[in-house]
Symmetry: C2
Subunit: 176 residues, 2 copies
Amino acid sequence: VFGTDGPVLGIDPGVSRCGYGAVDVDGGALRPLACGVIRTEAGEPLPARLATLERELTVLVEEMEPVAVAVERVLFQANVRTAMSVGQASGLALAVAAHAGVPVAHYSPNEVKLAITGYGAAGKRQVQAMVASVLGLSGAPRPADAADALALAVCHAWGGAYHEAVAASLAKEKAR
Amino acid sequence: VFGTDGPVLGIDPGVSRCGYGAVDVDGGALRPLACGVIRTEAGEPLPARLATLERELTVLVEEMEPVAVAVERVLFQANVRTAMSVGQASGLALAVAAHAGVPVAHYSPNEVKLAITGYGAAGKRQVQAMVASVLGLSGAPRPADAADALALAVCHAWGGAYHEAVAASLAKEKAR
């Protein structure tokens, strides 16, 4: 396992729904710590929603004391309006991590898929099934934003070395 | 003049360069208070840059004690990468204002141009000349990001009523 042992916090940024998921890394072992979604009210003014999101993220980082934060890197959103909104949420997440002195890593959705399933074009279900299996969960984490954030945390915890091992094992299975 | 008297802080959000400009509104009179640019180092990691930007914006709001913050609304950036980056900076600006309990107003670049020159497709120079004239400055504020932020503050201070007066006066000039 790559990096320092301790909690890794994954964040899937969004203003309406911001997913988070934390895993504890202890040597080669991964343990689920928490996952969920920070929601803000669509009826509230945007500044108030962003302030709420930042407060919640700050509390989360204070409680989890992560050794690293993994944030989804989304460069090619479907449209500019979505990109602005994701940018607003991710900007807060990055600033909160930096204020707390926690290093931040970025992973694109494809990097997460590749790291977890060994296949960059894997489906969401495959990724979630693998995350559940790795963390010893009985089913895919819910809701989807929380599952995505948990996948980010697992992706970071595994780093490069594990990805190669997984890819090799998948290749073996395929070859059977 | 529309809204409460007191300082109005304009913010032109950006991660590399974030313009700010403040005017004091006292009845019908506008007085320039400050303008400048918050810069963050391109060589620094993004989370650290965003944390710096948020700290500087917080200090600015604490020092200015604005009655309102006017932030540029940019919905149609040239590209998604720019939108993400502007989103990150604007998210911080909105959250800082909300944390301080200061109401936020949004204006698109065209709304600013329209409010200040009476003409939504006015050039930057026209806008800056009008801002300088209104604030009794000897020349256009520098640098450009600071000037844009100052224009946002003037736009907010003027509100709707002034815009109509300006448009009427421009129409008169044109008719001469």
